[in-house]
Symmetry: C4
């Protein structure tokens, strides 16, 4: 428990634990088709699709979080709370996923999914800011993050989804899917920084 | 698995695992609104609020536990059981959270929440005592903890909540919220000890 | 992932993960009282008591498993499967716990609880044998385990509970409680071996 | 979080977390017999048997994954996503397990179980390919894997099960059981490579 970085390691391990449970519980809440007919199976399809979306989104956060902490040299109490704040919002995604899976044609679940995702994106951006503040503007992590256009764009797209879901939930789903595509490639900036 | 501190590391990892699952399962038990109407969403609000409270409380324990074990040099069988005892009480918090979420206007769930929180606070205080006994009064951890006024105060506030919930559950919630505010800032004493 | 003992470390970490989830999920399945009356609360008492028993039993296995792996120098594929076999039986304990909690006055749940516990005890004994076989009769772990009277006694008591539950479930519960008391103190033999 | 292999370590730890939760949640979904009669207990037997099968399959993946990552020296962003892809399919196994447990005499759940297992087997093969691509054809891991006949055979058997389940679910179960037997012994090639 001594040694450099051990504090960061425990933070990473705890976050991984939460994300691992989130993914698995979300899968399990998919639920089993009510009957053993094609119709019953087809009724489960929307909840399977929204599970795929949520899985990819949480995978993205896990990946970026992983790269972020690898570049982080120092953490503080504020970083710990910023990280817990991120986990709080992430923990709401399974609930939103379940709701969308149940009533994917309604605006409200689609908007609620956007709120949970928006909160997560904002919390991640805050965590990055906190880490840069502790490690300094000249640190590895600060240089690696740079201007963070993708982060700001995601926040905007999720916010748009929250509102536009009331026009049509499908617009919201399209916006959320766009964010997933945007981030699918792990943050090259941090990856590069590590190899160097 | 050799090396100094590895025993402490496994204790920390196991505790983190339990706390990670507690947080996620608690979120998941929030439940999805029954209908896609504003009224149905509003009905979920109290359970969302009590989830926030529980999340913050468990976050506080995770944070303090993290700092406590970082200052700990030696552990014993008694410390292991004191830690399991803490996890036992922590594991009751999701159940209490769920009950308050379902019937937040009744005295009994509010009082039960206080019992689980009181047990957790007592168990944490016991764990601290056990660790100090093993590491000695002159150890880093013993000096860092000092007189532990916040710990004793929390126990008192939770105990008061258990009783006063029968007067009004809102008094109990106010007391529990006070404890959360009290501890929100991580234990500066231990943080200081580590930097030195 | 290189370095001596890293394989043991991952085995320990995986087992800890499973046990952490078992404990938390078991707690969560306690369920919330149906009404906010004393009668409804009292109805939850048996399931709370059997949860305490299961928590202590899993705590004992976690503790002993922890000490066992600390004394272990080498593991093999057979040890890995023996460990998974232990986790399999451990994973049935929450199910048995839930059943006893629902119908504690019936013989069958009491007997089923005994089967799960008996399987766990046998699996633990097998794991110990496998580890000794890989590490040799002159190894630290072999000397530390010795004749393993407590292990054999536990298997016998659980087996007796499986049968005697049909006479009265209370006899079975008394036997299971005896095992818990027997093991409550962590295995002194291994603890001693480590300090030396 | 620095030091060689730490990235692989976190990947392993995260995967272990997901697999630990999968195993435990799957056990818990076994459900308690509805009545305390022999008939009610016998009705749970098929779901217990399919749980055993799924437990063994996930144990095999855990074991092989463990040996795979031990031989892996370098990972990349693509490896991370290939690993998440594997976890995605693994996370569907509990759902398939639950469905088979509920209606084991129907073709559809048996076929769905095959789809989840087929996806997992393909994802594992992809992960192996990705790791070899990053580490090079002359690497320890590439030599250890060799021609991967067992992997290809498993994919074939699962695919056959998906189709033949519509002839009779029992043929499908026989095929899935064959895969389990085939892999039960951990991948000797990798085990050998490590000892050398």
């Amino acid at each position: 428990m001594r040694g450099e970085g051990s504090e960061t390691a425990r933070l990473a391990a705890f976050s991984d634990g939460v994300m691992a449970v989130i993914i698995t519980i979300m899968a399990f809440s998919l639920g089993v088709p009510k009957h053993t007919t094609w119709v019953a199976v087809t009724r489960q399809l929307p909840s399977l699709l929204v599970y795929v979306l949520s899985f990819v989104l949480i995978g993205i956060y896990w990946n970026n979080h992983h790269h972020l902490l690898r570049s982080t040299e120092r953490i503080s109490g504020a970083v710990m709370w910023a990280n817990l704040h991120l986990l709080f919002w992430l923990s709401l995604i399974p609930v939103a996923t379940k709701w969308v899976g149940q009533s994917h044609q309604d605006s409200m679940p689609a908007s609620a999914y956007g709120i949970a995702s928006f909160g997560t994106a904002v919390a991640y951006a805050l965590l990055v800011r906190m880490i840069i503040r502790v490690n300094g503007r000249e640190s590895l992590v600060a240089k690696a993050i740079g201007s963070d256009i993708k982060g700001i764009l995601s926040i905007g797209l999720f916010a748009a989804g929250v509102g536009l879901a009331f026009l049509s939930p499908w617009i919201a789903y399209a916006l959320y899917g766009t964010v997933a595509l945007l981030w699918f490639v792990p943050d090259r900036r941090l990856t590069r920084a590590q190899t160097g």
